[in-house]
Symmetry: C2
Amino acid sequence: MAEQAETLRRAPLSRDRVLSAAVTLADEAGIESLSMRNLAQDLGVVPMALYKHVANKNELLDGMIDVVVGEIDPPVLDADWKRVIRERILSAREVLLRHPWASIAIESRNEATPAILGYLDSMVGTLRKGGFSTDLAHHVMHAMGSRMLGFSQELFDASRRAGRSGMAEPEPPAAFPAEAAAQFPHLAAIATAASHDDASVVGQGCDDQFEFEFALDLLLDGIERLRRQGWTSSRPPR
Amino acid sequence: MAEQAETLRRAPLSRDRVLSAAVTLADEAGIESLSMRNLAQDLGVVPMALYKHVANKNELLDGMIDVVVGEIDPPVLDADWKRVIRERILSAREVLLRHPWASIAIESRNEATPAILGYLDSMVGTLRKGGFSTDLAHHVMHAMGSRMLGFSQELFDASRRAGRSGMAEPEPPAAFPAEAAAQFPHLAAIATAASHDDASVVGQGCDDQFEFEFALDLLLDGIERLRRQGWTSSRPPR
DNA sequence: CAAGGTAGGTGTACGCCGTACACCTGTCAA
DNA sequence: TTGACAGGTGTACGGCGTACACCTACCTTG
């Protein structure tokens, strides 16, 4: 009887409930805690029940990615291409900062999901409307790479690390250890300079948002120059 | 006796032998076939034997990464910063193309290995010698991101996919499916344009090497402009 | 030369993982 | 009333990383 009550109390599963529970679990406990078993437990259900709503774990990840991509702001209308793209990418970045596991998940899938294709397609549309040739638009998309989706492969980047191991403690300031400083003097110089010139930045002494926008604008400015020059592929026949 | 003979015939394990067997296995069978058990089998040894030479699987991956990074050409001497950096990055790219699993492995580690730190440090050194301030060099390193190591996060890129599932068949030309073309018209336009304007490019109609160098030069040119202008961080106080 | 420490390979076992497959049960259409 | 079916359950399998106890061949040292 108690069991029956519990069964009744529980809202029935659905693909959407599974996906949003998965997103929440990954947000809170890190992507590596997202197992079918853990997810099922969160939903008060036996692991195999999930398979009535998602085909397998890969499809679950695809669904989670689409949830995240759906949170990116739609393009601003009636603005020049550069502003539209810049703002959309910065919105994507905000979304990915809310879901630090997502960039990792996107990278490790090997097919684009429909939602991502839709997003990219709309980006190309913005470029075309801004006067880019198909050719140039194509190369621009490649040049932007993952930045298009609001993240850049930073090699070793604290916020992405967070997606791996849940709420790992923010890690003490961890100034460049002396031995490493001797071995990597140039990196040490950067590390100390970055942490000194802005005392308000704690811990890792470098402002990710600034770096992201620096690279984004560097690219956008270069791209704008190519567009104004009427750049066209001088690709050798090869 | 036969067993004894086998034991004798077999060269003794060593960290180097373990690492290079692991690299070979990942090259040939794909990174997802690299399990401690498979690796041990290739070496004619029981899985736990590996743990006498590497602490655990993560440390194995770190070691493999260092092997790969060690294959990158040293910097050319006596050339201007731009050429030194460009050539070194293109060398890194060649290495990573030989080991398609490596970019994935590098991305999924969360600490830089000493070899990578050494590589990055020497890159910063090149910039500094080329007249960059520590500040600008820092931002440049961020802007280059993973391109510094010869790969860019391309979102969905055939060569990196190969690192996942061994020698997956090269996949038929796979022209943009008609239904998708309707849904993503701009992507379809790019896909057809790219595969038409160079008949010699087979299958996926887009020249990865060209795209890589396009983005690389776009960045390098923008960076060169900042350097000439004596760019300095106008980072807002906050 | 005997003794014993040690480096390195072995065997077993544990707890995770994804998921195949058979089953049960409540609901609703015919 | 019946029976199909959607959706939750239980059991089981093969794979994974690796802890831990062991065994054995060698080298050092008295």
